[in-house]
Homo-oligomer: 367 residues x 2
Amino acid sequence: MKLKISQKELLKHINIAQKAVSSRTTIQILEGILFIAEENCLRLVATDLELIVDTRANCEIYEKGQIVINSSMIGNIIRKLPDADIYIEVDDNNINIKCLSTEFNIQGQDSNEFPSLPYIDKDVKLTLEQSELRDSIRKTSFATSMDQTRPDLTGVLFNIMNDRIEFVALDGYRVSLDCLSNVSEFEMKAIVPARALNEVYKILEEGEITLNIITGNIIFKLENTDVYSRLIDGQYIDYNQVMKQDFSTVVTIEKRALQMALERASLMAKEDKANLVKLDFSGNELHISSNTDIGKVDEYVKCEIGGEDLRIAFNAKYLLDGLKVIDDDDITLNMSGSLRPMVFKPLNDTNYTYLVLPVKLAGGNND
Amino acid sequence: MKLKISQKELLKHINIAQKAVSSRTTIQILEGILFIAEENCLRLVATDLELIVDTRANCEIYEKGQIVINSSMIGNIIRKLPDADIYIEVDDNNINIKCLSTEFNIQGQDSNEFPSLPYIDKDVKLTLEQSELRDSIRKTSFATSMDQTRPDLTGVLFNIMNDRIEFVALDGYRVSLDCLSNVSEFEMKAIVPARALNEVYKILEEGEITLNIITGNIIFKLENTDVYSRLIDGQYIDYNQVMKQDFSTVVTIEKRALQMALERASLMAKEDKANLVKLDFSGNELHISSNTDIGKVDEYVKCEIGGEDLRIAFNAKYLLDGLKVIDDDDITLNMSGSLRPMVFKPLNDTNYTYLVLPVKLAGGNND
């Protein structure tokens, strides 16, 4: 293996490949990146056995070959090299790296020890705008569960229908649902691990992305990079059932004012009290209050209330999580009594819905 | 106690006071900030018993008084409030904080429990530019020792002479010395804890600062803030003895090229090998090499060598620490054999000197 590559190009692709290198693996070869010098490019492949990143860098190849190089070592070396051409030559497992007046000699590992890439037939695919996918990941993945005993809830459901995709995340306390329209020509459900989505999120730029979904796997295909993730087995909860309700109280409120008031109120809400805030919708005002061992806080936010006045309590964190991902200035809060979920909808974006379960207060009806 | 203050002004002074609040104290009252409403200002005082910060905020006082408020709680509350007027009213230990449509009620602690400020007579003082002090702290405090069994080495010596101050830090492996001229009219030596200097460093801005030094204490007096620190007892090592030597090799080299080359070389120098790099000065070139279990690196840096060729070895970290604080483009490296210290001097800044002890290699003369 023998090649010339610019420092910037190599560093860019190392940074991408490192997203699939686990820092906590006990399998030594997985601490490495597989470098494959092919006809026209240098491929960098990394995996933690759940996620595979396969990225292709532009370079001049003088001799083809493969080698595995420790990810943090090669990253640190290339990061410190000047912005100039780098010459890499591999002889057996000895790697020689030259750049201007610098020369490194380090040991690599045999590429035969590296897990082989899955063979995947790529029949079922759809194409999205990267910016749209990024937005949908941001609006859903935070609401997945961390509880590994319910693996289906640790991922985001891609519910692909003939005319649209629904991205759904839920953890038993809230549901986050985002839709994209006019993107698919087939029907399929796939649960994608939140971990994979969070890494894909970081490498999304502009332009299009193609998703290939086959049994057990999804591949995110960007211009020079493919990210493979296993899918999560299991039946996803029927979230449509949860989302259906009639609302007896519909509130229109300024998002930022509500968010700021809740952030202040949650300062008083200690963790051991489940971060509890009380919301009192009455007249043309929302009164938020929290009363704990530390102290007491009262917040008043102007709003428009349609339907019945209502008193309802929540874990402030769940409310704030949803508010943080909404970009609109105004939202509606839709409720039907103090024991049923509250549904957030951005006023001008019908694609996004966030639902939170209330906390039942002692005394039953939250008085 | 009753007052009105702008959110920005209060937050600014809370941030300053928090520099003296230890997050690890076991004495509960020290987790608080003492608020003193005086005739014309609100004083905020915090201490960890080593360092005291006493800062004065502009506000309207309606009723004088004192209260201690938990530092992180009041910081979090004020940080989240909007940029508007804040009304604070204290009744017994109940603190009411109002800002627009927000109202907090929290408990404070009795100010009598808070340590009293030392009475300090302020006869011996000198005035510096804040920018000069900041620069001298940056160039010396990093070279203090962390070893609490040698307390004198955990601080920076302020060696005040009739015509100048020398700031000196040393830890047994290197000496960092910075001078300021024409600043004093008296002679005095004081060892100031590095911790205090690092906190003072963060609040320095433009303009002048006055230092008051009396037995056991130093006070840094800024426009609205006083920082008190205890001084460290003990006789400081006679560093002049160490600094005196004749040089048989004098090298002029570009600082940035040397720094980058050493940073790359130290990538190979594992911690268990004492971060060892070999420097070979010969011809018109410095050859830096490091050879460890991980791999081998060779770096070549152009330089001008006056006097004898020399081979010498160092802990790369100590070399880099000194290079990082030098702003000049070129420096001289002054040596007298492979077993005696190397002295760095910026080419155009005669005020700063950095000295590092070499590592003796097996074989005696570093061959």
